[in-house]
């Protein structure tokens, strides 16, 4: 049970309240789905509930967060016993080198007897069906596997309240279904209250008891799922809209007859200290102006392939041929890794100058406006939300008019609106600049919106190569860990 009463919070650097009079009540075994656009205060609320907000960020906090009769705001050091939180980026939440050490880390800190530490670790891994990961090394895990280990490591603390911040960001649809099934089970059997922060609502709505909508730091709606009418649920499940877009969106393959600007021949890649190849015998011709989607489940080799094309990784076997004068723009999975200047304007302007763009000032403003960054042009880059950082990274990659732009998981942590905007932006850019786009993602909807051609990667091998519309017709698509876009319904 968790009771949040009249909760207000503002950062020490800001005058505005980020959380405004939040009141939430959740019974034992209940699951609340917390939704809201990027920047609405969802993660801040989660951090308040786990007691780290005032300890790490300072600022002013008012109100009460009561779990097991303990007010977390008065005794933040007690919070970890009752509230578990799994944040957005699983990689930084894993603090040891092996899965075994990670899952036993929390219970070890409680000073429990050794037997109980391992019982809890086994229980937590079993709950999320990941016992087979027990003896793995963290470096070998895919994003989805890391996510599951991060959840297990918190579950092992046996919290009364579990808060999961976008657990589906790096997990493909079939696994999300499975994970949510397990969450429902632990809520029912263990009486754990769960707050699920999500943008993808289709599966989440099936297990949730409550829907809480947060906007600009305020709870604008808090209702039981059974109270919601079919039409109201549809409002949060815009599958019909999406289906229309997809069915009307069959695109012709562009540039298929033109000469390849990037050619991969029998490329194999194996990560150091790994026994198996992440890419196996990949051959691919990428033509000028094409929008290529690299689709596949976690661990299928999508990011590895993007990095091979970008030249960040060298193939273990095989060749990558590019034109010598080919300009490549790269948007990494973590966009912050590309920022060298303090503000968006400086970042794009410096890049424009470096790339020899004529009239760099004008071009900088054009790109910033095209990507909706105009009003943030002078804001410190580290104050931008993740979605805007990705746009800035893209702006920086685009301003030099590259022949080819590579995007690695561009939709991670973006809400549905953010994804729609990004899809529109990419389509406009490809049209206006005739830029080749290569996008690695497990988001079938996004790939179908943007890309005219796609490859399906599974276990490091290309299982399909051709028009995106043809890929979507494959009856066994889900058996490759990829969901069809008309099933990717319900985004917020």
């Amino acid at each position: 049970m968790i009771r949040i009463e009249n909760l207000w919070y503002r950062y020490s650097s800001g005058e505005n309240w980020v959380l405004k009079n939040i009141n939430i009540f959740l019974n034992d075994g209940e699951i609340a789905l917390l939704v809201g656009p990027n920047g609405s205060g969802k993660t801040t609320l989660a951090k308040a509930a786990v007691g780290i907000l005032s300890s790490f960020y300072g600022g002013e906090i008012k109100g009460k967060i009561v779990v097991n009769s303990v007010n977390i705001l008065e005794k933040p050091e007690e919070a970890f016993k009752y509230v578990g939180y799994v944040g957005e980026d699983p990689e930084v939440q894993l603090v040891t080198l092996t899965v075994r050490d990670e899952v036993t880390f929390g219970p070890s800190n409680l000073g429990l007897p050794l037997k109980e530490v391992f019982e809890r670790a086994h229980w937590a891994l079993n709950v999320i069906d990941s016992m087979k990961l027990m003896n793995r090394v963290i470096f070998e895990l895919s994003g989805g596997e890391m996510q599951r280990v991060a959840i297990a490591s918190i579950l092992a603390l046996k919290p009364r309240v579990l808060i999961l911040d976008e657990p589906s960001a790096f997990i493909e649809a079939p696994l999300v279904r499975k994970l949510y099934g397990e969450l429902r089970k632990i809520a029912d059997e263990e009486g754990i209250s769960i707050i699920l922060i999500e943008h993808k609502l289709d599966q989440a709505l099936k297990i949730a008891d409550k829907l809480i909508i947060l906007r600009d730091g305020e709870v604008v709606s808090q209702r039981n799922i059974e109270e919601l009418s079919f039409n109201e649920i549809l409002k949060y499940q815009p599958q019909e809209r999406i289906r229309e877009k997809v069915s009307g969106g069959v695109r012709k393959r562009k540039g298929s007859s033109s000469k390849a600007i990037v050619k991969l021949q029998n490329v194999w890649y194996r990560y150091p200290r790994s026994q198996k190849y992440s890419l196996k015998n990949i051959s691919l011709n990428i033509a000028k102006g094409v929008k290529l989607g690299i689709l596949g489940p976690n661990g299928s080799g999508k990011s590895t392939l993007i990095k091979i094309i970008a030249g960040i990784l060298k193939p273990s076997k095989g060749y990558v041929t590019k034109h010598n004068d080919l300009k490549v723009g790269y948007v990494p999975q973590n966009p912050t890794l590309s920022f060298t200047r303090p503000t968006p304007y400086d970042e794009v302007y410096e890049t424009a100058k470096n790339m020899g763009v004529r009239e760099p000032k004008a071009e900088t403003w054009r790109i910033l406006k095209l990507l909706g960054l105009g009003r943030y042009s002078k804001k410190p880059v580290l104050h931008l939300s993740f979605g805007y950082r990705r746009r800035l990274s893209l702006a920086s990659a685009l301003v030099g008019k590259p022949d080819i732009v590579l995007l690695d998981e561009p939709t991670a942590y973006l809400d549905f609106e953010g994804k729609t905007v990004l899809a529109e932006i990419l389509n406009n850019i490809a049209k206006q600049l005739n830029t080749t786009l290569i996008i690695a993602s497990h988001d079938t909807w996004f790939i179908s919106e943007v890309c005219d051609v796609a490859v399906l990667l599974y276990d490091g091998e290309i299982k399909f190569e051709g028009e995106t519309s043809e890929l979507l017709k494959i009856p066994s698509l889900e058996s490759f860990g990829v969901e069809k876009p008309f099933n990717v319904r319900g985004h917020y």
Partner: protein
């Protein structure tokens, strides 16, 4: 070249979990033997003695049962030690092409090589949690041991960030030194997130932690300590 070197260093610092004689060896004795070896290496000043000390490296390679580890460690240290040797040669007080210079440079380079390679092999075959548990049992505060684990965990991640950042800035024709800016920003954000995670996972809220690992086989540990002690004795006698 820089990216190649960073990648090799990253690989050398990546933990290898293969079950080998070296991973099984007692973690405390393993590091004691490394410390003894370090003392021996710092005392030698002739080429013959360095060749004798190289037997410790050979023993590590043998016990690691992976020639690849040796190869990867060699690649990681080859360039920095090569540069050290080159500049020592250039600035040698004995002249460029004298016997003393060659002897001096070769001895220095080989000393550095056996030490660095041995360190990397021991490092990459040790589970830091095992070492932390061992140290905590012997009274070392958890703040120190957990810092050790985190450093171990984060070195390959930071190196990965540096590589990715260099590629990203280079594609936009910035100088590669600019890559330090985003890497620093990401490292600070990462450090903040990691400390939040440690807080959420309850580190430090109880006086006593449970230790989940065993220190390893005394037998293999003793072999390493005996080997290092023997080499140190030889060096001291000679």
């Amino acid at each position: 070249m820089l990216l190649w070197l960073l990648e090799k260093i990253r690989v050398a610092f990546t933990y290898s979990k293969d079950k080998t004689l070296l991973t099984k060896a007692h973690v405390g004795l393993k590091f004691i033997s490394l410390a003894l070896f370090f003392i021996a290496v710092s005392l030698v000043n002739s080429l013959n003695e360095v060749f004798i000390l190289a037997t410790y490296l050979a023993l590590l390679v043998l016990m690691s049962q992976r020639l690849k580890l040796f190869y990867e460690s060699t690649l990681a240290v080859a360039v920095p030690i090569g540069l050290l040797g080159f500049f020592t040669w250039i600035f040698s007080p004995y002249g460029l092409f004298t016997y003393e210079t060659f002897n001096y440079v070769l001895t220095l380079v080989l000393r550095m090589y056996v030490l660095a390679t041995s360190f990397l092999i021991v490092f990459s075959t040790t589970n830091p949690t095992q070492l932390a548990d061992f140290l905590e049992k012997h009274g070392v505060p958890f703040t120190l041991t957990q810092s050790l684990i985190l450093t171990w965990r984060l070195i390959p991640l930071v190196l990965k960030d540096i590589i990715e950042s260099i590629m990203s800035v280079r594609l936009r024709r910035f100088g590669i030194t600019k890559a330090l800016i985003p890497v620093t920003a990401v490292a600070i954000e990462r450090a903040n997130r990691v400390s939040e995670t440690l807080y959420i996972k309850g580190l430090g809220f109880r006086a006593k932690r449970t230790h989940t690992t065993k220190p390893g086989s005394m037998f293999y540990g003793v072999i390493l300590v005996l080997a290092a002690t023997l080499l140190l004795t030889i060096v001291l006698i000679s």
